[in-house]
């Protein structure tokens, strides 16, 4: 028997990498693709999430004015966090707690300050993330084993990409040729063309997704072995003697939110304030976080709410090279760092990737079916011959 050629061997490796797990892979790709646009789906379902500017000239309200507006409409609510949307068609969300330990998000119109309503009790975005990221398996002791199961898929995915490029003879030439997607010549031809064409143009995307997912795997291993590679120190606290003491009946003086945000934006030039985390107790500073010139990473300032003193800064320049890589992985995986159109790009390539696991299977079964038919044909011919002889 002739030795199989090297490319044939690579082809077999390529086939076998995803074939035995194709349904699981398909499911993870499909749920991830939906997760990319889950916020937009919520926008379609829940009118409270939408916020259009009344007209082009209406500015957004100030930070403290928004807080006052919330306090007036929801006097019982204790606001833990404010988050401004990435996209202008969304309302800002406030995480609030009510007496009786009920917690939810409420949506606030950034132009009028009107509380437009609470989040739906079914949080689609969180559900899709949990389904895609860890198969809903809870994190009880360290990372969920679902997280491991999903992130392990990154290895066959990356290997599929590499072997796929190896078996695609001189794939780079295809970039300069007319794309070929033959319709009407049978399913086998169509799915073969589709698999090659979408693979060819998704190389960057598959690389991003699989490498970032490998990082998710490494991240879990590091966390579960209590290994840290972060340059981040222990969280800052407000010194005991800087927390005011007041006589009973007096209220504690805190700076207006706009002043605190101004301090943060002065200390972190280019900061686009996106999240405000309110103190969790009297010794906890207020945290102002947002993106800056490099959209993949967050910067934050922790500020003394009584005096405006900067307690801690986390700038881009505080990160080392490794952290630039690791911290950029998540946004690159989710595509949530550049607004709606970027998300659509991620969604589109996510769809292609989902279909690649299906088309891979279809090619295999069609080819196997043909091969089986071919193998059976001589047998049938024999049978026909035998029939002729006996009749």
């Amino acid at each position: 028997m002739a030795k199989p050629s090297r490319s044939k061997l690579w082809f077999l490796v390529h086939s076998w990498l995803a074939l035995p797990i194709w349904i699981f892979l398909f499911f993870i790709c499909a749920t991830g693709t939906i997760a990319v646009i889950s916020q937009e789906i919520v926008w379609l379902i829940n009118p409270a999430v939408r916020a259009q500017a009344p007209d082009a000239d209406t500015p957004r309200m100030g930070y403290q004015a928004l807080m006052d507006a919330i306090a007036k409409q929801e006097p019982e609510a204790s606001v833990q966090r404010l988050s401004w949307p990435e996209e202008s068609q969304f309302a800002l969300s406030a995480n609030v707690g009510y007496p009786g330990a009920r917690f939810t998000s409420i949506y606030v119109n950034p132009y009028t300050g009107a509380v437009q309503g609470p989040a739906l009790s079914f949080d689609l975005r969180q559900f899709m993330r949990a389904l895609h990221g860890w198969l809903l398996i809870p994190f009880t002791n360290g990372y969920s084993w679902g997280w491991y199961l999903v992130s392990l898929l990154s290895l066959p995915m990356l290997a599929s990409l590499v072997t796929g490029l190896v078996v695609y003879k001189r794939f780079w030439r295809a970039y300069f040729q007319k794309p070929r997607l033959r319709v009407g010549q049978g399913a086998r031809i169509f799915w073969g063309d589709f698999h090659r064409l979408s693979g060819l143009w998704s190389v960057w995307f598959i690389l991003l997704i699989s490498v970032s997912a490998i990082w998710f795997l490494v991240q879990a291993v590091l966390a579960d072995t209590a290994t840290t590679i972060s340059t981040q120190g222990v969280p800052a606290v407000v010194a005991r003697d800087e927390v005011p003491t007041v006589t009973p009946g007096q209220t504690v003086k805190r700076l207006p939110l706009d002043e605190i945000v101004a301090v943060a934006e002065r200390e972190l030039p280019g900061l686009e304030t996106q999240h405000v985390f309110f103190p969790g107790n009297a010794y906890d500073p207020i945290t102002i976080a947002g993106r800056g010139a490099y959209p993949l990473m967050f910067q934050y300032a922790k500020i003394n709410p009584y005096s405006g003193k900067v307690e801690e800064l986390r700038r881009l320049s505080d990160r080392n090279g490794l952290e630039f890589f690791t911290e950029s992985m998540r946004p690159l995986h989710t595509g949530d760092f550049g607004g709606f159109w970027l998300k659509l790009v991620w969604f589109f390539f996510g769809l292609l990737l989902t279909m690649m696991s299906l088309s891979g299977l279809l090619i295999w079964t069609k080819r196997t079916a043909q091969a089986t038919a071919k193998a059976l044909r001589p047998a049938r011919a024999d049978r026909a011959a035998a029939r002729e002889v006996t009749e």
Binding site: F24, P244, T245, A386
Partner: protein
């Protein structure tokens, strides 16, 4: 040569395994289905739809303030880089928010405010504290609550572990037995 003899070996029926082997990973999709109820249960807990925690642990009067406590999850202490730890939740009395500066929790009576233990973190309606539980703690020992007012006053109260978390008492008893 008979007809049947020629026909018999022609088409062996593919076995179940051959037919389905590439689709068996579909069985993995049962996993998320199995976990749907616990996912929504956890969600209800974190949204406070089940109250302050999995098990209400009663009110404790600390100085002038009535604080409501709960065991976040009914389970023995969990391993953590800080040792074996247990998480409790606390809600302040209505209107106490402007009076209480901070609340702390630890096993055994603190010698000073600096050693008052883990500080509660969160909202006045539900704050969390994760407390180290030394395995050598006597099962009938007390947790101590320290509350500090905005006026600088400090109040303390004991809180039996037996009231706070029977699951922790069970665990401590086992620790004692295995020692």
């Amino acid at each position: 040569m008979s007809k049947t003899a020629t026909l018999a070996p022609a088409a062996p029926k593919p076995s179940f395994w051959r037919r389905w082997r590439f689709h068996l990973s579909a069985l993995l999709l049962i996993v998320p289905i199995v976990y749907v109820p616990s996912y929504f249960e956890n969600l209800a807990l974190s949204r406070g739809l089940m109250g302050l925690g999995q098990r209400p642990a009663g009110d404790v009067l600390v100085g002038p303030w009535k604080l409501q406590f709960a065991e976040w999850k009914v389970e023995p202490p969990k391993s953590d880089p800080a040792g074996m730890v247990k998480t409790f939740t606390m809600a302040q009395c209505a209107g106490c928010q402007d009076q209480i500066r901070a609340v702390y929790l630890r096993v055994g009576k603190p010698r000073s405010l600096r050693a008052a233990g883990s500080i509660f973190f969160g909202s006045p309606h539900r704050a969390f504290a994760t407390v180290p539980i030394p395995p050598r703690t006597a099962p009938d020992a007390d947790l101590w609550i320290t509350a500090e007012g905005w006026d600088g006053s400090v109040h303390q109260a004991p809180w039996p572990i037996a009231t706070a978390s029977p699951a922790t008492v069970e665990w401590l008893k086992k620790q004692g037995a295995s020692r």
